[in-house]
Symmetry: C2
Subunit: 355 residues, 2 copies
DNA sequence: CCCGTCGATGTAATCGATTCCACGAGCGCT
DNA sequence: AGCGCTCGTGGAATCGATTACATCGACGGG
């Protein structure tokens, strides 16, 4: 592969001049510039990003460590992150932690070794020493979706409290009184917060959330199934189940179907994180939708701000309830939100730039 | 951030010795080794991968350019690729082409500039000069899922012909005679092949595939809807529709639902690419399942073989039909494949290592 | 006792860029 | 005419590793 030296030789100038042309430095004669450009063209020269990074100490690369790529919510997040990063002149390396702290650590280490300019993390746990040290050492970093309390890093996330209140009101209005939750790992903020928000909203309606109705999941489908089976085995099973993410809701759907029961007739189901498929499941699933694309973009902007020396602020956007049929018949007054005129393929609140 | 010089100073040795310890070169005294290791520990030193890559001309990184991350099939492919690569000591940088040749080119160029050791591509089109030049220039490369004819690069893919024949037999057995296909872009091999396989299988049953029953899609959901609407507008609409990928099937489901029609009563639907959600849609969708994880792993092995100087062979694995209810009632004899005992969350043929 | 060998270590070149500094030419101003 | 600027350019240092080659001491065989 041709190097800058080859180009210099071909153009009859020094490597310094070639470099100047490539980084369009002002003081290069028009003559030299055209000769260099011609040489670049004829050799098919492309600058070596590795060498450039070594010298400039910048990789123009962002690291994104997410909890689970197979979760459509995170897939969409990753996509929007890459899009915004590209628009700002950065590329993205994704690390999939699969909800495993050891894998998360592996990726963080790998990304740090590659000297990425900044790190976007949706932590799987309370944070390994590695990550906390990196944050303290000044690696530009932003948390997205989930975060770690007590660390001085901007957080970009959705606030689901209002939507959870709407959900509980919805469930209450449909007559459900015994309601349960499939929680996420207590080590994650989203795992804890969703339970808390749910409990508070229930209390406002004079309802209780007994321990037996709090199932411990891990944000993966299998745990949703297991927990739901536990609920169904209770002497007094819940009338409604709220899954703290979409994969656990899928597992719950599995468990219910395996028993030969029906949603919502035998048991109601709702989920956190709305995804296109929920429109087409049997029945369509009532869910809390996050402004995923907006979150990804805001997170990148905050991170790039930090990298380039600007403040880089935390952002919190509201999530919102999307009522479908999995909790019972919707309010007669409100029309089905995924009706014919609105393309149901896309999550309603999202405006995607290309399809 | 501490460099190898700092470690050398701290340990009271030369950088050469530090490097030897780090790459466990045999001739280093036990004494020097422990001093270096202690220095590494106390400084929290991590070798700079950028510098190392520049010197050794190896990045231990694979590039993966896929057509669309939001497609669950490709998400799973990406996941298995990363897994196998990690096991072999490589990391992966993913580029999402979003079915756009210009974006594909952007990512290929970016990856090449970063001097990745090898490239895994699922081409969106017939191949840009950039990609073809890279292949000719000897960049280790492997095509996965889709490929470009006439290029000397190993191909790892699934053969869907047998499964398509099974599907057509299934449709025919249920009494469908007027069957249509939502095709993928003609610029892709999978786009063409699936139409061809379908046509041949139909001919074997004495059925025809008229032009009006071949809708041109682009593997994205929106095109599936548009094409399906076209089919439904025909004077004689098809009785069954075969979507060449899962997203277009989702779009088709949308279109049918928007007309107030039902699958499979009003029109049958089947899809290429099976995904977990198809178990839970209304109705569950009959689909052709690829051994996605196996494809990803085989592709990585082939690529790493090439990189490390071994041959690196093409691999073709069979796809298989998974009958559900979207084409009409299944054969009374065969039991529903996604029944209670088999966790329906996972695509049946897949054995995933961690859930 | 001398010399060859081997093991441990250091010095310095190298990878491919960027960039500081020096230098010479040309030009304007006094 | 001479001084000082600016402009265009090249030489060389530098980034952080790896590694070929040189060196030096110890040791064993003849």
């Amino acid at each position: 592969m041709a190097s800058i030296k080859d180009v210099a030789a071909e153009a009859g100038v020094s490597v310094a001049t070639v470099s100047r042309v490539l980084n369009d430095h002002p003081s290069v004669s028009a003559d030299a510039r055209t000769r260099v450009l011609a040489a670049v063209e004829s050799l098919g020269y492309r600058p070596n990003a590795v060498a450039r990074s070594l010298r400039t100490d910048q990789t123009h690369t962002l690291g994104l460590v997410i909890s689970d790529v197979m979760n459509p919510y995170f897939t969409e997040l990753a996509r929007s992150v890459e899009e915004e990063a590209r628009a700002l002149g950065y590329s993205v390396i994704i690390g999939n932690a699969d909800e495993r702290p050891d894998l998360q650590d592996h990726h963080v280490r790998n990304l740090l070794d590659r000297r990425i300019d900044g790190l976007l993390v949706s932590p799987t746990d309370g944070g390994s020493p590695l990550m906390l040290d990196a944050a303290r050492a000044g690696t530009p970093m932003v948390f997205v979706d989930r975060w770690i309390p007590g660390v001085d890093v901007p957080v970009v996330r959705a606030d689901g409290r209002a939507a959870v209140r709407d959900l509980v009101a919805h469930l209450h209005g449909l007559g459900h009184r015994r309601v349960a939750i499939i929680a996420g790992p207590a080590a994650t903020t989203t795992g804890r917060e969703r339970v808390e928000a749910f409990r508070e909203a229930l209390q406002a309606h004079g309802l209780d959330l007994p321990d037996a109705y709090i199932g411990q999941g891990d944000f993966q489908a299998e745990s949703g199934r297991r927990v739901t089976e536990g609920f169904l085995d209770l002497a007094e099973p819940p009338e409604a189940v709220f899954a703290a993410d979409n994969l656990m809701a899928l597992g719950a759907l599995d468990a219910v179907r395996a028993r030969g029961l029906r949603v919502p007739d035998d048991i109601a189901l709702a989920a956190f994180d709305d995804i296109p498929w929920f429109v087409h499941t049997d029945p369509p699933v009532t869910a809390i939708a996050q402004p995923t694309g907006e979150l990804g973009r805001a997170a990148v902007r905050a991170l790039v701000d930090r990298i380039e020396g600007r403040p880089g602020e935390s952002v919190t956007l509201p999530a919102r309830l999307v009522v479908r049929r999995s909790c019972g018949e919707p309010y007669p007054a409100s029309p089905e939100p995924d009706s014919a005129q609105a393309p149901a393929v896309q999550p309603p609140a999202e405006n995607r730039s290309h399809t």
